[in-house]
Amino acid sequence: MKTIRLLMGCAAALFALTCAAAETPVSGGLLKFAVGAEPPNYDCHAQSSFAFIHPVRPHYSTLLKFDTVQYPKIVGDVAESWTVAKDGLTYTFKLKKGVKFHDDSILSSEDIKATYDRIRKPPKGVLSLREEGYSDITTIDTPDPLTVVFRLKKPNASMLSNFASPWDCIYSAAKLKIDPNWPARNIMGTGPFTFVEHVAGSHWSGRRFDGYFEKGKPYLNGFLALFIAGAPMVNALSAGEIMAEFRGHSPADRDRIVKTLGDKAVVQESPWVCSLVVTFNTRKKPFDDQRVRKALSLGIDRWGGAQALQKIALVRHVGGLLRPGYDLATPEAELLKLPGFAKDINASRAEAKKLLADAGQSNLTFTLTNRNVAMPYTPVGVFLIDQWRQLGVNVKHEQLETKLYLAAQQKDNATFDAALDFNCDYMDEPNLQLQKFLSHDKSAINYAGQTDRVLDDLYDKQSGELDKKKRIALLREFEKRALEQSYTIPTIWWHRIIVLNQKLKGWHITPSHYVGQDLADVWLQ
């Protein structure tokens, strides 16, 4: 008996050893992966797309970051430790010693202060998309080179996770002083990889930074991001030319790749904090009329569409302003009562036609401005146009390249009619997801251009509300009004499927394709 137990013990130990050996990171290698679109410019604070995060993020660090294995646990990136005061009004961070920028200058609290001042109070000519989220910060103090203190004017439920935002790249204060817009065309951070080159239309490459503050990391010698999408990307994965595509695949693509790669493919799936929304330009007739907007929202068969589209696209779940499945989101029973979410599509369509007739827009014609990234913009765009066609509305489909698409919506006197925008974030957090629905003067990512103080007030109230039940009640009210007014309407939420080549180790899926992309922890077998 004892011998058997001893043998089993040895076997177990041996097994554990071999497992550990298989899981020991190996240094070296060049990671090749695909990115479906190109970054419009190099400034983190002004970006919102994966086209930016995937190639550029490895060059930068943030104060905190998410642990991708135990998501949404937050760990320190350049921050060694941190404390939050009991009243929730003071956040103190202690920085790691000896963190270097790629030009060998040492990181100090001045850089953190400069970065966050730029985010929350962007100087003239600088675009900071997340300004609103940091409006509660009153001052940032730097008592010594390794300590930063943030003081808030009121408690904010999401402030700690704000500091883990992958968009808050830390810039060098010295460079920002010379030119606040320096990061838009130059890359210099504290991240694991230095910038090598960007050949437009082709690829982006980075090399290991030997002075990275985490000793032994990054494991890779460098990375090469190829700007390919669609069939070439699937072909490349199937043939083992590239190791991954970090955004997400459709179920059809996944099946295709798995069929070809067999056991060399590793599939990871997860819900996704990402959805497409239709933004109506309320500054333009007839989208200033609430009846027209609501009618167009009612005319979309979200349930039927999700069923059909999930076969070929990355969309899957029907939900409102928050991700279905998130504990603060509206459960299905209540969702069915909201405009645009009823299962009886014929009744909704009849109501929509009546609203359009009332508004005198029965023969409405407009252009839907869309992005030229095929997945899932094209199928969803075609789906929406077909739905609206059944209301008698004639819609022209215009697909623009990422840079032009964003510019069309972001510019001061936008002239688009309706746009198919994306609302994605790095975590489930109403303070993030709802920013798109706030008034134009309060949120840099609102493209509908409306001014609705009721929604703004509800947002402010819920942002500091630490009692979950009260917060849910406020969120329901917000959602009800937002869907009634239909300035920006949700369509279908996405489902994340990632197929990796089994040679790529150390990468773990999270519900956000913005998280975990600094590539410091991945290695090639």
């Binding site: 669609g230 069939a231 699937v234 072909n235 059809a252 059909a308 095929a374 997945m375 199928p379 489909h397």
Partner: protein, 297 residues
């Protein structure tokens, strides 16, 4: 013995209709012509010939393989491929004929004028043509498209037709000019001028009939080229746009994303382009052999 004079009876060959003669002498060309006619008929009577609506999006059966319901399968939006191929013939033939007609006619007129007037006018026109000839066909077409954008008139993109026809003008002009030059040297032109006939009359009554043969040959050849140009431009996203059915468009976009799992999406439109161009080339070749085998195009 009386001398019997052999009487040679000479039978005149039967007078057959030129078209019938053409079919007998040039069977390949006739086959091409028949294919063209079938395509044209299918395109004109498309709504009656096709089982589905080319724009009907059907989310239930996306990327479906060929079946009895959908002979050529469906694309990524559930639209019937065969229907879109037949409607695509409309786009191809309409753009093809119009572009070729506009380009060839303009080229022919310029060629004749240039040949007739000669001298300085000829030099200037030839210089301009040389400049246009310096651009490869598709580069010129693309640049014009980039310049002009899209302009729909009665559902037809006029700017696309202009873009495709412009490269044809100097090429047709060159060939027609060569033919017209051959006549200009003949004495009866001088005689006509001496007799006081107007330039227009001389051009139309004497030169034009002589250039009809090369003109028709170029016209046919360039319909094929125009169909290819339209397909290429639409493939690049710079020609016809969604949701119009066009063979080139059917090969781009969603097709480029899905063609490994749904190869029928690209096989049939590509075959359609090839067969159409093939038919026009066959017909054009035979036309040339029939009308003027010596012509060097």
């Amino acid at each position: 013995m009386s001398a019997v004079t052999a009487v040679l009876t000479y039978k005149l060959p039967a007078r057959r209709h030129p078209v019938v003669q053409f079919i007998l002498h040039q069977p390949l060309g006739a086959a091409g012509l028949v294919s063209i006619v079938i395509m044209a008929l299918a395109a004109i009577f498309a709504p009656w010939v096709t089982p589905h609506d080319p724009l009907a999006v059907d989310y239930e059966s996306m990327l479906a393989a060929p079946s009895w319901q959908h002979w050529m399968g469906t694309d990524s939006f559930g639209r019937d491929v065969m229907t879109r191929v037949i409607y695509g013939a409309r786009t191809a033939l309409a753009v093809g004929f119009l572009a070729s007609f506009v380009g060839s006619t303009a080229g022919a007129v310029i060629g004749v004028v240039s040949a007739y007037f000669g001298g300085k006018i000829d030099m200037i026109i030839q210089g301009a043509m040389d400049i246009l000839l310096s651009f490869p066909i598709i580069v010129l077409a693309l640049t014009v498209v980039a310049m002009l954008g899209q302009n729909l008139v009665f559902g037809v993109d006029v700017n696309l037709i202009i873009a495709i026809s412009i490269p044809m003008v100097p090429r047709v002009g060159r060939v027609v000019r060569a033919s017209a030059l051959a006549i200009r040297e003949l004495p009866y032109i001088d005689a006509a001028r001496a007799a006081g006939f107007t330039n227009t009359r001389i051009i139309f009554r004497h030169m034009v009939p002589n250039v009809v043969a090369p003109y028709l040959i170029m016209l046919t050849a360039y319909v094929a080229q125009a169909i290819l140009s339209e397909a290429s431009l639409s493939f690049l996203g710079l020609g016809v746009t969604e949701p119009t059915a066009s063979w080139g468009l059917m090969l781009s976009g969603a097709a480029a994303d899905f063609y490994q799992q749904a190869p029928w999406m690209i096989i049939f439109p590509g075959l359609a382009i090839s067969l159409a161009v093939f038919a026009f080339n066959l017909f054009g070749d035979s036309l040339r052999d029939w009308l003027d085998p010596k012509i060097k195009i």
